[in-house]
Every structure is written in C-alpha cells, then in structure tokens.
C-alpha cells in the first residue's frame, strides 16, 4: 500500500531519519515503536504532508508520490490521527466531518450522513451525528477523528500515540476498531512508545532507534514468540543490542527498562499518620468555569513524607483541585488547612512562603514565560522577594548566579541561563519547574501530570524528584492519568470522578482494580 525507500530527513544538528525503509501492507497493523526522539514524529509528519524528506522516496500504491501538503496526503488516501484532538468543539459531529470538503460546493448533508453511517458500520461505533463535539468524551472525540481521517478514503490510517488520553475501556474500544479496519483491508500504522500496546495490537512491529530502523518483527515470527521473548527482543532493539543493554544498565538506565517492562511499587510505606496531618482539605468546592468540572466537597488529609496519587480520567476536577490547593483558584466552600493554619484565603505568594508548591501540567502555557530566560523563570514566583530583590530593585547578577548553580545542580540542559525557556526541550522545561517548586523550603507539593509528554529518561527523573522530595518529608500530591505511574510511587491513591473524590485506597495488592472501578463512577468497594 505504502512504502518508504531510504528516507533521510535532517534538521540542523541532528539527523531525524537516517535511510529509513519501511513497507506498510493492507490488512496489517504495523506498530512503530521507539522512544521520544527516535524519529517517529518526523515519520508521521512526512506521511501527513507536513515535512518533505531530504532524500529517498515515498511510494503510494507502488508509484512514487510527493506529499507536499496535508491535503495531498488526504488525496492519496492517507488519514492521520494525531495525539491532540484537532476538531472544532462548538460544531456538531457531522459538521466537523464536512469541514474538509471543497469550499465552493454547498454542504451536502445527506451525502455526508450516508458516509457517516457507512463509517459507523465499518468501525462498529455509535455516535449521534448531530451532537456537539464538546459533549463527547475524549474517546468518542477520537473516534470522530478517526472517521475524519477515513472520510475521503480508507486505504491507510496513521495513528500517532492514540492511547495517551484514553481510559482503559477506551483503549480496548480502539483496539477493536483497529482490528475491524485491518480485517477490511486497511493498512494501519500505530505509533507508540508503550511496549504492551505494541504487543496487544501489532501484527508487525518495527523498532525505531536514533532515526534508523533498529529491527523488524513480522507477523509469522511475532505469533510464534512468547511474551517474554517478544519483550526481550524488542528491548534489545530499542537499546541497541547486548552491548547497548549493558551500556544502558551502566548508565543507570535500568529504571527506563523497568518502565518498559511494567512497574512495581518502589517505596516502602513508612508514613507516620499518628502525627497531625500536614495538609487538610475540608469539603472543598469550587465554582464551575467554562467547560471545566468544579470540585464538589472534596476532603482528604495528607501527612509529611506521604505521596498521595490522584487518579481519574482527565477532566474530572483534577485541575481545579490542584489550582485550589495552590491558591490560584478561589474556593467557594470549604477550607484548606496547612498544619493548624487556615490558608483558604491565602494567595499564591503567601502559600508559597509557607512552603506550598505547585508544578503545573501546562508547563509553557502557565508554568513558565517562554520568551523569558531560564534564570527569570526560576525566580518567577519570587518576584520582589529578598535577596533577589532589594527594595524592589532587581539584583540580576545574583539571579543569574543562582540560576547557573541550579542549572548545574539539576542538570538542566541549556546553552546558558539567559536562553529563553521556550527553546528548551520538554524534559528540561520540566526540570526548571521541578527545580523551582521542589526546592529546600518546600513543605507541600502538588504535581499535575509530572511526566506528561516526557521521554523515558525524563519521566524517570521526574519520578525520582518526587520520591526524593517525599523522603525529605515533603507532603506530595501527584495527579496523573497514568495509573501505573501512580501505583509505582504513591502511598495512597485517590480517584476523582465528576468533581468528587470518589475514594482513597491504600496502595496494596488489588489497588489497581479498586481504582479502575472508582474511575468509572462505581461506588467504592
């Protein structure tokens, strides 16, 4: 159906793809596996028409094709589904699907509805075409994305990390859909960095490493291998063979291997709950804001040195919880107590002074000012505070010196402390935030999706920071949609559902099942 022949794509400083040859066959789910930076996203952007290869050619249906625009990509029968939903929330499902049409013709709703029914049958899903998109769950929105991708033609479907925002149920639905499409003869490309997904869905697995194809396991071989054999083979490819594995272990990357192989609890439960709690939320409620779910009567206590995980499907009030605790969102009812002090009315600076820290998940949107230097961003929440400011006058030499120290100490990869933080990679932006928030004076830390969008190495680093902070006696709240991660580092895990804290479970055997039940709204077992 489609093939890449010796594709090379260079960006200044790096070769993103190095003579990559791959073939995508009809009726096959082809998994491209690799770490962030392995070249997966570049490959996607070539097929979707957003970038051109420097060398090599792309064959579609056997003939060389130049994919010089996303429209051309669609014309060739390639449908792409990206990580983020790229639909218009205020329009209905069917209106969203008709957007791609020629703008000279009038909207042919009847024809569109016929196509909608056809695709619904093909995918085996039921969505109301007249429903506004904003009323759909993320999983359903993704189904609409897939329909949009298949709208013109159903030859090749490209899915870039499609499971990153789905519930376990959503992932299962997606898997069923992909198999239906495969059985109808569609060529599917599934891009992921999760090993288990690759095994669960893939007919063929290709591993990308440093821009090159490190290995390829065809369907015949894949079906004869045991789970352990597959894992070992793939990991060997991802880390570059035996030598690479040994080197990775030497570099202290066992933890990254551990992430790939599934996680286990890494912390002994040593929290002393006989003492008074460090932080307490008492029947906390917030006001609804646009489409966001507010908090409804959320209560919990948190002790020093404890990690409380907050699980739940995205958009169930987690953001309001973090913001209300950090002091950047007003509380409507209820109280927040820090030790014996009521801090409900305290603003961010007052809470920060008392040791409350918040690492936002929106790192460039609100956590940092992208155009400002790393140094400025490191003191963003201390503006006007001694010793960086004296009587309101900036002591830039001191700010810069302190920034250089923190860059050095925390291994932040930046050309200098004056570099705009927006130019750093995601992992290094997160290091800036962690350095700013998990400092020596931290007392309570709230982290929202601390590993979101990071590569394995930086995921590991972020989790290490959190564990280290808890070991120092910081009371930590980690909000995440990645349950495995929470199971790994939390002492207790609370579940948010529609703004309520549906329950808090101790992190012991069987916790995962209880949490999954709570996530879907079932009452606590």
């Amino acid at each position: 159906m489609a093939a890449l022949r010796h594709i090379t794509k260079r960006f200044p400083g790096i070769t993103a793809l190095d003579r990559v040859s791959l073939e995508f066959r009809p009726g096959e789910i082809h998994v491209l596996l690799g770490e962030n930076g392995a070249g997966k996203s570049t490959l996607v952007s070539l097929l979707a028409g957003m970038q051109q290869p420097d060398e090599g050619e792309i064959l579609i249906g056997g003939a060389p094709a130049v994919i010089d625009s996303p429209r051309r990509s669609m014309d060739l029968g390639i449908g792409s589904v990206f990580q983020r939903v790229l639909l218009v929330p205020s329009l209905t499902v069917i209106e969203n699907l008709m957007l791609g049409g020629s703008w000279l013709k009038t909207l042919a709703r009847a024809a569109a509805l016929r196509r909608f029914e056809e695709l619904s049958a093909l995918l085996g899903i039921r969505i109301d075409p007249g429903a506004p998109l904003s009323g759909l769950s993320l999983g359903e929105q993704q189904q609409v994305e897939i329909m949009r991708a298949l709208w013109r033609d159903e030859k090749l479907l490209l899915l870039d990390e499609p499971t990153s925002m789905l519930t376990p149920q959503g992932v299962a639905d997606l898997g069923r859909m992909m198999r239906r499409l495969r059985d109808k003869g569609v060529a599917l490309i599934l891009i992921t960095h999760k090993l288990l997904e690759a095994f669960a869905f893939g007919d063929r697995i290709s591993v990308l490493r440093l821009g090159a194809v490190a290995g390829d396991i065809g369907p015949e071989r894949l079906s004869t291998m045991s789970e352990a054999e597959r894992t070992e083979t793939v990991i060997r490819m991802m880390f570059g063979g035996e030598a690479g594995m040994a080197a990775a272990a030497e570099r202290g990357h066992e933890d990254e291997l551990a992430i790939l192989l599934g996680r286990k609890l890494r912390r002994a439960n040593t929290v002393d709950r006989s003492k008074p709690s460090t932080l307490a939320a008492r029947a906390l409620s917030t006001a609804p804001d646009f489409a966001e779910t507010p908090l409804r009567e959320v209560s919990f206590e948190l002790w020093a040195g404890e990690v409380l995980g907050i699980a739940g499907v995205d958009g169930n009030g987690q953001k309001h919880l973090a913001e209300a605790l950090a002091g950047q969102r007003p509380v409507r009812h209820g109280r927040i107590e820090l030790g014996v002090t009521d801090i409900t009315r305290g603003r961010v600076p007052q809470r920060r002074q008392r040791g409350v820290r918040y690492v936002t998940d929106d790192r460039l949107g609100e956590g940092t000012v992208g155009t400002f230097s790393v140094a400025t961003n490191l003191v963003l929440k201390e503006i006007g505070v001694f010793p960086y400011w004296r009587r309101g006058i900036s002591n830039w030499p001191l700010i810069y010196r302190s920034a250089r120290e923190q860059i050095e100490r925390n291994d932040i990869r930046t050309p200098s402390e004056l570099t705009p933080v927006g130019k750093l990679s995601g992992g290094n932006v997160q290091k800036v935030l962690l350095a700013r928030e998990l400092d020596a004076d931290a007392n309570v830390a709230i982290l929202n999706k601390p590993t979101y969008g990071l590569d394995l190495h930086n995921q590991r680093l972020a989790l290490d920071w959190i564990v280290a902070a808890a070991a120092r006696g910081v009371a930590v709240i980690v909000i995440s949609t990645d349950l495995d991660e929470l199971l790994e580092i939390s002492d207790r895990i609370g579940v948010m559902f529609q703004g309520h804290l549906a329950g808090i479970v101790d992190n012991d055997d069987g916790a995962a099942d209880k949490i999954r039940r709570l996530m879907t709204g079932a009452a606590a077992a």
């Binding site: 960006f11 603003r347 956590g367 006007g384």
Partner: protein, 352 residues
C-alpha cells in the same frame, strides 16, 4: 568567543537590523517620490537641511521630541504589560486642556514654578482618570482594551472641544480657545535656546521608564503580565491591580505629554486642535521594540521627518503625510527583515 565580543557582535547585528530597514524604506520612499515626479534626493536633502542642519530647525525638531517621548514612555509601560492603550489622543488632549485652563488661573496666586508643577501633575491625573473605565473593564471582565481605549479617545477629544467652546473659552478671542499663558510664564527654556525644559523631563521619563521595566520587581511583574497572563495568575500576581496601575501609569505619562506641550509650546489650546501624536508614536514604539533608549533615536528620526516634512510640504510640494508613508514603509521593512532573519535560523525538528 568571549562574552564581550559576543555582546559586540550582538550590538552590530541589532544595529544592522535597524539600519537595513531604514535604508530600504528611504529607497522605496524615494521610488514613490520619483513616481510622483519629485526629486527624492532633493526632498531628503531638504528635510535634513531644514530639520537638523539649520539651528532653528534643529531646535524645532528637539522641541517636538518632548511630547513624543513622553507618549512613548507611556506606551512602553502599557505595551510591555500587554495592554494596548490606543487611547492616547483623548488622554493627551484632555490633559492639555486641563493644564491650559489651570495655568492662567493659577498664575495669579502662585509663582511660576509651582503653577507649572501643579499643572503637570493635574495633566497626569486627568490622563490617568480617562483610562480608568477601560482599565476596570479590562481588569474585571477582560473587555478588549483596544476597543475601549479607542472609544474613550473619541469621547475625550470631543469632550475637550466641548470644554473649550462652552466652558473654558477666552472671551477676548474670536477663535474659540482657552486663555493664553504668557510666554514668560511657560516652561523655562534651556540654555538660551528655544527648546523648553520639557525635553529634559521627557528624556528622563523615558530612561526612568526603561529602568523601571528592566530593573525592578514591579517592571518584571508588568512584563510577566504582558508576556503570559496565565503565568502571571500562576505566579500569584495581582493581575487586576497590575492592569489598572499599568493603565494609570501609561495614561498618566501621556497626559503629562499633553501638559508639557501646552505649557512649553502653545500656552493655550484652540478648539479642534488635535496633533494626534498618540497614534503616531505607536509605530515608533514598535520599531524600538519597547526599548527606551532605542525609542529616543527613533523619536529624533521621526521628529526630524515631521519638522522637515512640514516645510517640504510648502517648499517642495510633497504632502506632509508623506512622512507617514515613510514610517509605514519602515515598519514593513522592519517586519520583513525580522521575518527573513527568523526563517534563516528556523530549524527545530517537529515536536516529538
């Protein structure tokens, strides 16, 4: 590369990024003059000769800089804080009328110095007050200040005229205008020239504004607000209060410009007088990228063009508004240079 030579290279690059667009704008402007059948070299020569080389013209150019610089200072505060205060004309004119009305009345009771100071302070206050409605709307409800400041500007200009014609009118003149402040009572001249000390005040104001924005906690807070409002909320800044203060500072400085222009040059405000400096300075502030020092240079350049262009209109027959064409071309070429520079070093691989 040592830090010093890197800084040197930086300075050269920055200077080139300014000089190249200036040169291109002058060339393109010259082509337009050619198309109009005028001699471009003659025109430019005349402008330079008239506004800079001749002592009288140079004094006029420097005098013209005073209100422009004060307005620029006001716009730098607002723009860096992400507030698009386009209501400068209303703020300027109301402050001008206030000081024009106050000065002749006060000079009877107070000595010259205190009179001028009181008038300038009142100019600031009136300018700031005129920004209060847009400031509150923006801070409380997020209403777009471009619209509200422009609307308030029209109202301010009209209100000024109403005041002059109905309330403050000098009964001894035929043309409606406020009572004149005697030449000897106006702002003192500098060193026996015709340049009044408002220029000094303006230069100091621009430099202080620049230092405030770059060297103080308050300035950094304003910049955070301007660069990323969500980050300002996240960092716990008092966004509403900062917004209102930034508006007041900005409009206050623009009001001061109005007071200085009246107290230094005219001594009175005539009905329907509106130099429209407020919007003229906006492109200069952008050209200078909100940098206080650079804005002094651009203001000098623009004042010279204005003063030279005004007499060129009479002597060479090129319309006075041609000066605006040059500024527009300058902005275009500056944006173009910027774009080319960016795309030259554009580079990063797609997000992974």
């Amino acid at each position: 590369m040592t830090a010093q030579s890197a800084a040197g290279a930086d300075l050269i690059a920055t200077t080139l990024r300014v000089l190249i667009p200036v040169a291109l704008a002058l060339v393109a402007g010259g082509l337009i003059l050619l198309a109009l059948g005028k001699d471009p070299l003659g025109y430019y020569g005349f402008v330079v000769q008239r506004s800079l080389l001749r002592w009288g013209g140079a004094q006029e150019t420097l005098t013209r800089m005073a209100p422009l610089l004060l307005i620029a200072a006001g716009l730098i505060v607002a723009f860096r804080a992400g507030i698009w205060n386009l209501g400068g004309d209303g703020q300027f004119l109301l402050a001008a009328v206030t000081s024009a009305a106050l000065a002749p009345a006060l000079i009877g009771f107070l000595p010259r110095g205190p009179t001028l100071v009181v008038c300038m302070i009142m100019g600031c206050v009136v300018g700031a007050l005129w920004s209060l409605i847009p400031a509150l709307l923006k801070a409380r409800y997020g209403v777009n200040e471009i619209i509200t400041t422009l609307m308030m500007s029209f109202l301010g200009v009209s209100l000024s005229n109403v005041l002059i014609k109905l309330v403050l009118r000098d009964p001894d003149t035929t043309v409606p205008q406020t009572r004149s402040l005697a030449v000897d009572d106006r702002l003192p001249r500098l060193f026996g020239t015709s340049i009044h000390c408002g220029l000094l005040l303006a230069v100091v104001a621009v430099i202080l504004t620049h230092l405030m924005m770059t060297q103080t906690a308050f300035g950094l807070r304003l910049q955070v607000l301007g660069a990323n409002r969500a980050a300002a909320v996240h960092a716990g800044l008092r966004v509403e209060r900062l917004t209102i203060v930034a508006f007041a500072l900005s409009a206050g400085l623009i009001g001061l410009a109005g007071a200085v222009e009246v107290l230094g040059v005219w001594g009175t405000v005539r009905a329907d007088w509106n130099p429209a400096f407020g919007l003229l300075v906006v492109p200069l502030v952008f050209l200078a990228r909100f940098n206080g020092y650079a804005v002094i240079g651009f203001t000098l350049f623009f004042s010279a063009l204005m003063v030279g262009g005004e007499s060129a209109a009479r002597r060479v027959g090129v319309p006075q508004h041609y000066v605006l064409v040059l500024v527009a071309l300058l902005l275009l070429f500056l944006a173009l240079t910027e774009y080319l520079d960016q795309s030259r070093r554009k580079t990063s691989p797609p997000e992974s």
